[in-house]
């Protein structure tokens, strides 16, 4: 079995500080932004935003904690939750204080109730300040402007309540940028001074001669130059702070370390990294910039082991670092990422989890030439999340037939310790999938994963639908199923859609039912993407991303911002979570009404509309007799394949003004639970408000023939169609992995699934008894990590219905 290494004392201390953190809502960024915006009120956003960024870099507090070796903060505290009033980020905090939900304690701060799953506080001064500028931002924030006018279809979409666009919801324009992998390799190998010079030299060359398209480019390069000035300032200030602390430090060891940190940062402020420490610190500094520039664009790190190994290799050869020192830097880097969690109101927490920052890290896989790319840093990443029991960031383990057994062993040992991590990815499916959509071979081989698990190019791709509404881009397919058999009326609320499909009892064959589902799906997707395209257009004007555009390939070359299509690859996308519920519903109709004639379409229709009340015997018969997806039964699997194919075909018809590649996905945070609460009963016997099936997995408890049958069923559709990513969740009883032979068998099973066309799998290794015990005794299980679908979390921090959903999934013994 793989043996994990010991952890240094200060790393453990920092880890526990993060576990026990109290988030401090903080107004520093808000103050600097408000001042800067007032000064530049009438400057266009493409310039105003970089100007603010430069102000922020000059003025923000520089904090270096005694336990830190990798530095960089979003605010003045280690656990700052930063305010983004331009997006209405913290209005809910002010509201909570105003309503008396947060109360003043002895420390002079307002705190949220202890019963909440995460602890927050705010100083009275910051609360007062935030309140004082609320009115200023009310009419200036992007959301207000965008909500003021929308294309016609928004109203229908909103009233139907089958997507995140809903009445009394947040603004449809909730997020800038979205998820992506920035060009970290470029940043640490180029340096800010060279980037500044590149922008400035274009400006100098075109002085007094800005004709035609030049004006757009001029604005872009001007923004880039200002941004680089800010970046150089910020990194230099961190260096200066380290020098200052070193001078005052009495501990010789720490003093030397601070001097080393100062030297690295002062160098990095203008230049490319020279060694491993600078490479890791350089990635972190850029990560901080992305996150203070704008609200939660959730930049994923991508292939951390590939960016940094060349530096470590050189250092080791020169004898300037030990493996232990390198491991500590990696530990510190991951802990730092965990410091960036900002908290969220309850709706968001229920859907995307507590403590999740979506800064995914991708490791292993193959290099540009197709050779195995596993290196010592790949192992270090597993060491970090395994030993420190970190549920975040998500780690993606890329595998190919050349991936060495040693790292597989290490990955499985990690899965045993940290529920759901890593995600196992199959290069043999993902790379052909990217090639199919026009990615060059070297870029396809250099993919990474973002968000839940969407597949993108590393530093070459702008895959985010601008202005994507949180939590993620999806429409509710369970409701579409219901509407398709109910003449376009959502049985949940009685709202009629503009598309009339007829009633189930008027349909005479399964083909007619499928056609109704297809039409309804297309209709809803059309409206949904129309709204998204509208938001995308607005983002190009209101929210260009000059920090990201410095690094994403294509932008600096073309003089075009990434939000406007400057990147080498452009795409957007979303997900259909719980298609197994739709597929099982179709199978039920086919089996019960048309093939076996065990009930009439009218009876089944009435049962669904009654949410199965009074039809329990019929429901039991369906659960027993009807074949379900996940049992390697072609009768049921063909409906799932039909759903996947149909969804993919619909996605191929969608485009925005920036791109025409819609990446279809079968993933979904924990949205299947949230959607279940807003999806009426479905023909498969699922009752409102039970969860839908999660992501691409079979419906909870309907798979009865073991994991190999799930694998075989899951290989029934072409997985290369789903660049948005696929989440197949599997819960394993810990006894499976109790010895080497069991672990080897799990590896073989995973590889067998990949041989058959599987793209991804994730394992929770925990038994139901432990989960039930943890529900009752949360204090004993603070470090128990489980994966929902798109993220992992501490089990005890999940809502009760999410916890129950995990328990309800089949657990496999061997």
């Amino acid at each position: 079995m793989y043996q994990f290494k010991p952890v240094s004392e200060r790393i453990l201390r920092m880890r526990n500080r993060i576990r026990d953190r109290v988030l401090i809502y903080d107004s520093e960024r808000m103050r600097i932004l408000t001042d800067s915006t007032m000064r530049n009120e009438h400057v266009i956003p493409a310039i105003r935003r970089p100007l603010f960024f430069r102000d922020l870099c000059e003025q923000m507090t520089i904090l270096i904690d005694d336990d830190e070796i990798i530095v960089g903060n979003k605010g003045p505290h280690l656990f700052s939750s930063v305010s983004y009033p331009e997006w209405s980020g913290t209005d809910w905090v002010i509201e909570a204080v105003d309503k008396g939900e947060w109360t003043m304690r002895d420390d002079g701060l307002y705190h949220n109730p202890d019963t909440d799953d995460i602890r927050y506080c705010i100083t009275p001064e910051d609360y007062e300040y935030m309140k004082s500028v609320q009115d200023y931002w009310l009419f200036r924030k992007n959301g207000t402007m965008i909500d003021a006018w929308q294309p016609e279809c928004f109203e229908e979409l909103r009233d139907l309540d089958i997507s995140n666009y809903k009445l009394h919801g947040q603004s449809i324009f909730g997020l800038p940028a979205g998820h992506l992998i920035a060009g970290y390799a470029k940043i640490i190998n180029t340096g800010y001074k060279a980037l500044y010079e590149q922008a400035q030299s274009w400006i100098d060359e075109h002085k007094n001669r800005l004709f035609g398209e030049d004006m757009n480019k001029y604005i872009f390069y001007k923004a880039a130059a200002i941004t680089c000035e800010g970046a150089m300032t910020l990194v230099r200030r961190y260096g200066e702070k380290c020098s200052e602390l070193a001078a005052a430090c009495t501990d010789e060891k720490r003093k030397a370390e601070l001097e080393k940190m100062a030297e690295a940062l002062l160098w990095l402020s203008e230049n490319p990294a020279r060694n491993f420490r600078e490479a890791v610190q350089g990635i972190m500094m850029y990560q901080v910039m992305i996150q203070i520039y704008d609200r939660t664009p959730s930049p994923s790190i991508g292939r951390f082991d590939q960016y940094t190994w060349p530096f470590l290799k050189k250092d080791l050869e020169e004898g300037t670092i030990t493996m232990e020192e390198a491991q500590e830097l990696v530990d510190a880097f991951f802990l730092k990422l965990n410091c960036f969690y900002s908290g969220a109101p309850i709706l968001i927490k229920d859907t995307i989890g507590v403590g999740n920052t979506y800064q995914n890290v991708t490791i292993s896989g193959m290099d540009a030439d197709g050779n195995d790319a596993t290196n010592p840093v790949s192992f270090m990443v597993f060491e970090t999340i395994g030993r420190l029991k970190l549920h975040d960031p998500t780690v993606i383990f890329r595998t190919s037939p050349n991936t060495p057994k040693e790292i597989w062993d290490c990955a499985v040992a990690t899965s045993q310790l940290v529920g759901g991590l890593p995600l196992y990815y199959n290069d043999e499916i993902v790379i052909p999938a990217l090639l199919k959509e026009g990615y060059e071979l070297k870029d396809a081989r250099n993919y990474g994963c973002i968000g839940c698990q969407e597949i993108v190019g590393c530093g070459t791709d702008y895959p985010a639908p601008n202005g994507l509404y949180p939590p993620h881009a999806t429409i509710w397919w369970g409701s579409i199923m219901d509407m398709a058999i109910n003449n376009g009326i959502n049985p949940l609320n009685g709202v009629q859609s503009s598309l009339h499909t007829g009633y189930l009892y008027e349909m005479n064959s399964i083909e007619e039912v499928r056609e109704a589902v297809r039409k309804m799906g297309q209709h809803i997707m059309d409206m949904y993407i129309t709204v998204q395209n509208y938001a995308e257009n607005l983002a190009m004007f209101f929210a260009p991303e000059s920090v990201l555009s410095l690094s994403i390939e294509g932008c600096m070359e073309n003089g075009k911002d990434c939000t406007q299509g400057g990147a080498k690859y452009n795409s957007f996308g979303g997900t259909a979570t719980g298609l197994a519920t739709v597929a099982d519903s179709l199978t039920t109709i086919k089996y019960m009404c048309f093939d076996e004639k065990l009930c009439t379409t009218k009876e089944l229709y009435d049962a669904v509309m009654a949410n199965w009340e009074g039809y329990e015997k019929l429901r039991q018969m369906i659960l027993d007799r009807v074949p379900h997806f996940g049992n390697n039964d072609p009768y049921a699997d063909m409906e799932f394949k039909w759903c996947c194919d149909t969804y993919y075909e619909i996605c191929k018809t969608l485009s925005t003004s920036r791109c025409s590649l819609y990446k279809a996905g079968l993933y979904g945070s924990s949205d299947h639970v949230n959607q279940g609460k807003q999806t009426w009963g479905t023909p498969d016997g699922r009752k409102f408000p039970e969860p839908l099936a999660d992501a691409a997995s079979p419906a909870q408890g309907r798979d009865k023939n073991g994991p190999l049958a799930v694998f075989c069923s899951s290989a029934c559709y072409d997985q290369t169609n789903f660049l948005g990513g696929i989440a197949l969740n599997m819960r394993m009883h810990p006894s499976v992995l109790s010895n080497d032979s069991g672990r080897d068998k799990l590896i073989s099973a995973t590889q067998g699934y990949f041989d058959n066309g599987g793209m991804e799998i994730q394992y929770n290794v925990v038994d139901s008894d432990t989960l039930r015990h943890a529900q009752e005794n949360p204090e004993e299980y603070r470090d128990l990590v489980v994966r929902i679908a798109g993220y992992s979390a501490y089990f005890v921090e999940l809502g009760r219905d999410l916890q129950n959903d995990i328990i309800s999934r089949n657990e496999y013994k061997l």
Partner: protein, 311 residues
């Protein structure tokens, strides 16, 4: 007569395997973890946890029984809804295992254990898993009950599996005529072979049959070039004294290179609750052996140069 087909079974031989459990056994081990595998005929089985209560199913099973053998039983709390539900109870003396009630029981709380399969029906179930077997060095295990008691079917299945180049294992008590065992030799890659006690009298007292045929067959298999994975259930107060275990280890060592490994299986009490599925009479329960004890036994076997593992 098959009572279960278990895919992704990793305890029954090397690699990922599908195990086919045949029903019926000449032995009567009190600790048997699959009591439903002992009789050769189909039996009505009852799992209370699956019952959704007579209110929901409108007492379908009670109405369906032609012998009036199903009656109202205890009340229980449904683990899904948390509501109180009315369970049923099977009067074993009246039940003739006709299975009429099971046709009405959709949640399979009542079900018939024991189904007839053709070789081809089984092959259809194992073929899709071929790539998983290949990856892990696994295959198909025929287990029981006692598979050798249904030699005609077992042999036909083994031949077909070999014809399609599946790795095969036969999980057996070894209690059969040598000429029966001999027939399986060309088609069996590995015997998972139980040895329960070295003293024949004690063996007969406890499980109902003497051990001589079992030990002889093991020697013969080894002599004929067959491979054996010896499985020893460690049962407190029956075979866990070091003297008996030492003799067992000596016996295994004598079999020489035919023994690929010795699997030490600590007694567990899962069989107790499974027994209640087919009977009202509870069976005796013992305390599982401690980890330290198991380690001690493992060391004993290793002392004889045998590759031993626990579980």
């Amino acid at each position: 007569m098959v009572y279960d087909i278990q895919p992704f079974s990793v305890q029954d031989g090397p690699g990922i395997r599908t195990t086919v459990f045949l029903k019926g056994c000449p032995l009567r081990c009190p600790w048997c973890h699959s009591p439903e595998s002992q009789e050769f005929f189909p039996q009505l089985s009852w799992i209370s946890m699956r019952c959704v209560g007579t209110k929901i199913c409108e007492s379908s099973c009670i109405k369906a029984c032609p012998k009036n053998a199903v009656e109202l039983g205890e009340t229980s709390i449904d683990s899904r809804s948390g509501e109180s539900i009315q369970l049923v109870h099977v009067k074993r003396d009246l039940c003739d295992n006709c299975g009429e009630c099971t046709k009405e029981c959709y949640p399979h709380a009542l079900f018939i254990c024991g189904t007839s399969y053709t070789v081809e029906e089984i092959m259809k179930k194992v073929r899709p898993d071929r790539s998983f077997f290949a990856r892990s060095g696994g295959g198909v295990t025929i287990s029981g009950g006692e598979a050798l008691s249904q030699i005609e079917f077992t042999l036909a299945l083994l031949k077909q599996l070999k014809a399609e180049e599946f790795n095969t294992a036969l999980d057996t008590t070894g209690f059969a005529a040598w000429k029966t065992v001999e027939m399986t030799l060309p088609y069996t890659d590995l015997y998972l072979y139980d040895i329960k006690h070295m003293d024949s009298e004690r063996h007969k007292q406890t499980v109902g049959v003497p051990n001589e045929p079992i030990l002889d067959n093991a020697r013969n298999i080894a002599a004929a070039g067959g491979k054996l994975q010896i499985r020893i259930p460690v049962i407190p107060l029956f075979n866990d004294d070091m003297e008996n275990l030492k003799r067992t280890a000596e016996f295994c060592a004598e079999l020489g290179s035919a023994v690929t490994s010795v699997q030490l299986l600590p007694y567990h009490n899962l069989g107790v609750s499974k027994h209640l599925r087919i009977s009202d009479t509870p069976v005796a329960e013992a305390t599982p052996p401690s980890e330290a004890k198991m380690e001690e036994i493992k060391e004993l076997f290793e002392g004889f140069g045998l590759p031993a593992m626990i579980h």
